[in-house]
Symmetry: C2
Subunit: 224 residues, 2 copies
């Protein structure tokens, strides 16, 4: 196996918004579950940015998610009985329907691995939940920093023992691919136009001439 495809996960492989909102609806009373899910996810980039900028040492995303949950509960004036149980929803996100079949087919052509900001443990449990047949788990936890820092892509390629130009980064987010390309990787864009709900405005289209532009993971396999 002299090539690999590595994947953004939240939004690209799994539908975090509907999955989180569904659990919030049962665990947090008196809030709009979609507004709560969006607010929780809204704390994601600022929490990582402090680490990327060097203002805080690396801590895994599981811990950031838990801290952010407490922040958002306070903002909504809401409570929940078991924060740690609710936080585990990030290990229980449903894949988009095309993902298990697409990954299973792609495995015949290449090594496949998540290159996510989620931890190894989070990714392993999410793979169990969604039947994602990864060969390995690379990404933030391996690099001890967060995407889109170039070190995350470079370290991921290095541990797979492949040159960057034999590795394709797959994402539904153009900024992830901008960084992957800067690190020397090949790039594949798969739009997820309802990641943020029906009125999504970002990442509806590729913003560059990515090496592959696919409509979903099954289409990605035919173009790989």
């Amino acid at each position: 196996m002299d090539q690999a495809f590595i994947f953004d996960v939240f939004g690209t492989c799994v539908d975090w918004r509907n999955s989180v909102a569904r659990k919030v609806a049962t665990a947090v009373r008196g809030v709009d579950p979609f507004a709560f899910a969006d607010a929780w996810r809204g704390e994601y980039q600022p929490a990582m940015e402090r680490i990327r900028a060097g203002g805080r040492g690396y801590v895994p995303l599981d811990k950031l998610h838990l801290e952010n949950l407490a922040t958002v509960l306070a903002r909504f004036g809401a409570t929940c009985d078991d924060l740690r149980d609710l936080n585990r929803v990030w290990e229980q996100l449903d894949p988009w329907p095309d993902v298990p079949s697409g990954l299973t087919a792609l495995r015949h052509k290449a090594l496949i691995a998540p290159c996510s900001n989620g931890s190894v443990g989070l990714m392993a449990r999410l793979a169990r939940h969604g039947d994602l047949p990864w060969d390995a788990i690379v990404g933030a936890d391996i690099a001890q920093d967060y995407k889109p820092k170039l070190s995350v892509y470079l370290r991921s390629v290095e541990v797979l023992n492949l040159p960057p130009d034999r590795v394709t980064m797959v994402a539904a987010h153009n900024d992830d691919l901008v960084a992957a390309r800067a690190a020397g990787l090949r790039t594949a864009f798969v739009a997820r136009p309802t990641e943020h709900g029906a009125s999504q405005t970002c990442d509806l289209e590729p913003i560059s001439d990515w090496d592959i532009i696919a409509s979903d993971f099954n289409d990605l396999v035919t173009r790989a």
Copy 2:
């Protein structure tokens, strides 16, 4: 999944000696393939020891294997046409017969991952070769150091997001378990009495009261 089993690989999961000898027999003319395999493997600990002791920065095992191959070829006064191809034999080692079925059954009880001195890429390719259904790959490449340094076990447990006492290290080598126990992990011994051939003298028996002592991986599942 609130527990994990992590595994030594060379010797514990896979029969490196017969697999390497078989490929040496076709790739290197005029040598005893078992003597050559033993000599190649004999360079393994000294090469890692220099890194463990701080005399050399971390380099992945793939590179050490390649350097050691050149050393051993010179010692035997032998040549081979393609060193890199021969070096890939470490990605093509056959599992012991009980390993695929044992791991597949154990997955119903726990997360499973190799905790080897092999790199992530080597472990991913070896898993493809032998149908080893790992949830993740931990070990040396994650810790940037080599077992039995305690940091390798501690870092492996950390990225799985589990406390050490929820993780069991499985090995056919007592010294691996001594270190794992010192790091706070649970321990399981599975003897591989022919790892080094019919006249093996080491690791025929457990030297301590390991938490589990099993005859093979299927027996391990019943005791897990």
